[in-house]
Symmetry: none
Subunit: 192 residues, 4 copies
């Protein structure tokens, strides 16, 4: 039973994320989700007790996947520039592969479903702690500009999203060159 359940749960997740990326939370209905997941409307309630719960659970799941990806293959005793490049690449790849997740998060953030509590903020902070540590390490050896590390995170985030959006709008092609050009600009911005 467990395996079967997990498969359905996963289908609901995918259906929700995918639908939201196409029609926003404003166009999301339980019937839609069920249909896209290939199950009956009522069955969704076996997995999530309500729409609010469903959306919040799925939001949390997206956060988990996010963190997992961001620090993939990072060895914290590697050189700062190596790690930064890796995090940047990880982020770009995450945005490319999980764009729907990002759209979902974005839609969620300003929706009536969002639980605007401190937990969430703390989760986000925690998520960027490793990156902050890498950046501070870079500052301590004079490799990176001595401005608050937050700026570098804003830059990473914002730039990444925009490039990713451009790719998904068909304005750019997601390839080696794109990533190298992007990282090159990023590095120009933060390096001492």
């Amino acid at each position: 039973m467990r395996v079967k359940d997990d498969i359905k749960n996963s289908k609901i997740y995918q259906a929700t994320i995918s639908l939201t990326s196409r029609v926003g939370l404003a166009g999301l209905t339980m019937a839609n989700i069920a249909q896209a997941a290939g199950i009956a409307t009522g069955s969704v309630y076996t997995y999530y007790s309500s729409k609010v719960v469903l959306i919040n659970e799925i939001y949390k799941q997206t956060l988990s996947r996010y963190e997992e990806r961001l620090y993939d293959d990072i060895a914290f005793d590697d050189a700062v520039d190596v790690n930064l490049r890796k995090v940047f690449l990880n982020y770009m790849h995450y945005l490319q592969a999980y764009r729907e997740e990002w759209i979902f998060q974005d839609q969620y953030y300003f929706s009536p479903y969002a639980v605007k509590n401190h937990d969430m903020q703390q989760t986000t902070d925690a998520m960027f702690l490793p990156l902050t540590q890498i950046l501070e390490q870079g500052q301590s050896i004079g490799l990176i500009k001595p401005v608050p590390t937050n700026y570098f995170i804003y830059l990473l985030h914002g730039f990444g999203h925009e490039v990713s959006a451009a790719v998904h709008m068909g304005l750019e092609t997601f390839d080696e060159i794109l990533i190298e050009n992007s990282f090159s600009l990023y590095w120009s911005a933060i390096k001492q």
Copy 2:
């Protein structure tokens, strides 16, 4: 006879933008809008024939205000670095003052209301043409890196949004220092 009222129209605009920034398009109802605008539900239909029309009209209005602001006080025969700084500052100020507009646009983009046609893309392209020209001018005099100007626009956009978001989350204070630090990083990224 009572005359159709620009003030009421403006209140509907404000109410829509403001509500969307708080509860997203998913939480937006005609009754909400009317109440926030201080008029009767039915009166909204004197100004906009349906919810779809209302949302699309208001979306267009936000685009107009956006463009207007972006090139405020720009003299195109000024020096490239002067103009770039001005555009950057304009953008930061726009995001600060019109954050709700930006949230509305963001919510709109992935909603069932979005008209995904070429007109919209063309409008956006046209909006960035002046900035592109400034950047190309900078490249022609060897002041700016010879990479496609799109990258610089992604950087401006993304960075701006993230900094602005941080301000509105209370993580940063919107002041001279913030803007100078931000522009400084931006300039490091794009300058030759």
Copy 3:
């Protein structure tokens, strides 16, 4: 002022009748009526205090016109068969010229606006009294079948409506032949 008022009143009457014949009472709105009458919505209320009053007033007006027409040019001391033919012709011409009135009456009768009181029934009875007298006169001289005169009225009514409807549907042409054929059948039915 009186003349002007009467003109507007008449326009409201025509608009109401005409609209009802096209879209039924279910499709009738005060705004429609006003527009078709070439006046402002609010102005209708100068002449009729509410929609219910308007519809009932206009219903009564249709009844008056009806009676007026039915006995047009009848001399009650003429021969029975002459008078019957005249009433028949009058009725056919009334239905032809005032078909919209008839549709209005028909729609009214089963609508929530209908005042189902005895007054109406009495009015209708009174309307047919002269015809009944003609028919009874015919029976007394052995010209007409000795069945209750009601039957002859049902026959006149029903047949007339159907022929008229056929004309308006384009199935028949309203001319001498049609009327003669029709009356001929009617006369076959009632004559001794």
Copy 4:
């Protein structure tokens, strides 16, 4: 799972017909229908996707029942006068038993819901084809007047409705005598 219910469908049909006969299409609401059918408002939409669809579907259903009844128990190789009497009786009984259906049809015809297309006309034509054939057969053997058969149909229709209306208004009693008197007049009209 609960299964779509023919009984509920039938209740919706009855509720719609019955309500329309009392308050017209102008007084018909989906909430009314649901209440009269003993189900929830939303449930009506499980069976009919909109009010327009509901009204049109039910209109078609009334036509089917109509035809079915009109030729009940007719053997087309019986004598013309026998068949004519039967059709007449069938029609009178139909009008008596299904008066609400007739009112519904009447209200429908001039409503904004009516689909005024050729299909409808063709359906009606087809419905009267058998009767026309009986009448023509009667003409060919010199039993019936050589006037276009349409007239006899107008007469049947119109007379029937008026007599039926009189019954329902309490002016006549629906019994053997009424029917015999009526048919007798009808036969006088059409016989050679």
